[in-house]
């Protein structure tokens, strides 16, 4: 290589690379929305702590959570959590293809199974929470 001169190396920006293509940006949104899942876990942890502190603490926590700011926060978290989860469901056929004989199960079936699992788990949680 050196006989023909030194090759030119194009530097890749470490901080702005994801603006180079819409598909990189889409990937970053999928990854960054996990922060909202963590935020929800944090709210659950705070709930446990307030519960352990007695009735008064718990009721004031519930009051805050059902106030306008609490509801807006939870709706925002829900929206991002749904986006995060569905964006992962939609790529599952790549990671877990199912071959039956000479054919592969259509991706929609694998994605659908994940949605079905999600639905069943949600019903189970609602049932345990006494919603029915």
């Amino acid at each position: 290589m050196s006989a023909h001169g030194k090759p030119y190396v194009r530097e890749v920006s470490r901080y702005a690379w994801f603006f180079r293509s819409p598909r990189y940006l889409r990937y970053m949104v999928r990854e960054v929305t996990c922060v909202f899942i963590a935020l929800h876990a944090l709210i659950l942890l705070v709930a446990l702590r307030r519960l352990s502190e007695g009735r008064e603490a718990w009721e004031s926590f519930l009051h805050n959570l059902t106030g306008p700011a609490g509801v807006v926060l939870q709706l925002v978290i829900l929206a991002f959590a749904v986006y995060h989860s569905t964006s992962w469901f939609n790529v599952t056929p790549k990671a877990m293809p199912v071959q039956i004989g000479e054919k592969f199960l259509p991706g929609a079936v694998i994605i659908g199974a994940h949605y079905a699992g999600w639905f069943v788990a949600s019903i189970a949680v609602l049932f345990l929470a006494g919603a029915f």
């Binding site: 290589m1 023909h4 001169g5 030194k6 090759p7 030119y8 190396v9 194009r10 890749v12 470490r14 690379w17 994801f18 180079r20 293509s21 598909r23 990189y24 990937y27 990854e31 790529v91 056929p93 790549k94 990671a95 877990m96 293809p97 071959q99 004989g101 000479e102 054919k103 592969f104």
Partner: protein
Amino acid sequence: MSERTVELEVLRFNPETDSEPRFQRYSVPCMNEWVVLDALNHVKEIMDPTLSYRWSCHMAVCGSCGMMINGEPKLACKAFLREYEGVIRVEPLAHFPIQRDLVTVIDDFVTKLKRVKPYLIPKAVQPVEAGEFRQSPAELKRYKQYTLCINCMLCYAACPEYGLVPKFIGPAAISLAHRYNEDSRDGGREERQQEIASNEGVWECSFVGACSEVCPEHVDPAGALQQVKIKSTVDWYQEHLMPWNKK
């Protein structure tokens, strides 16, 4: 056949005289059914014989003419001019050093490809008289799509991970390792795992999925890499939780 003038903006770099690349504009009279490669060939034959680029088959089989066309990794022989409006910007494949003009240094990919042993390693040596290694259509189907890889390296140009962490073995090489691991006649998985299940292997992949989106042969490298991750994780659990299973 209708004709139109296409404005090509081509990245030029001469390692003997230039300290950095620059764009050069060509107004090329083109037929409507031409691809970008035809326009480049016209430039080289008629307008500027100093322009350097790689090509061979002109039918999306050899994998030589990969380049960035308006920022997208494409085979120049498969990029139809009628699909572009305005100036078409042609650059060498991203993430590879530029040797000259549109020609890149591909040694890194070739070295990585060798490391993953992309060939059949039989489970046991067998004399020719023992007959052929038979395979059912279902066993063939299991890995067939990965055999369509033409080593064009578009997936490396699309992979942001490879751009940021050049030691990453990358989409095509790992997919080809997976192709042989999934072959019922092969017994070389353990040798390949040392390369592809390492930090420089699949664990460097964060599943952006761009590799599969740009592949001109519709191979799914992103899928292959996630499958290797799952299988390597199962290996780890088997080794640590079920040591009695160890061979």
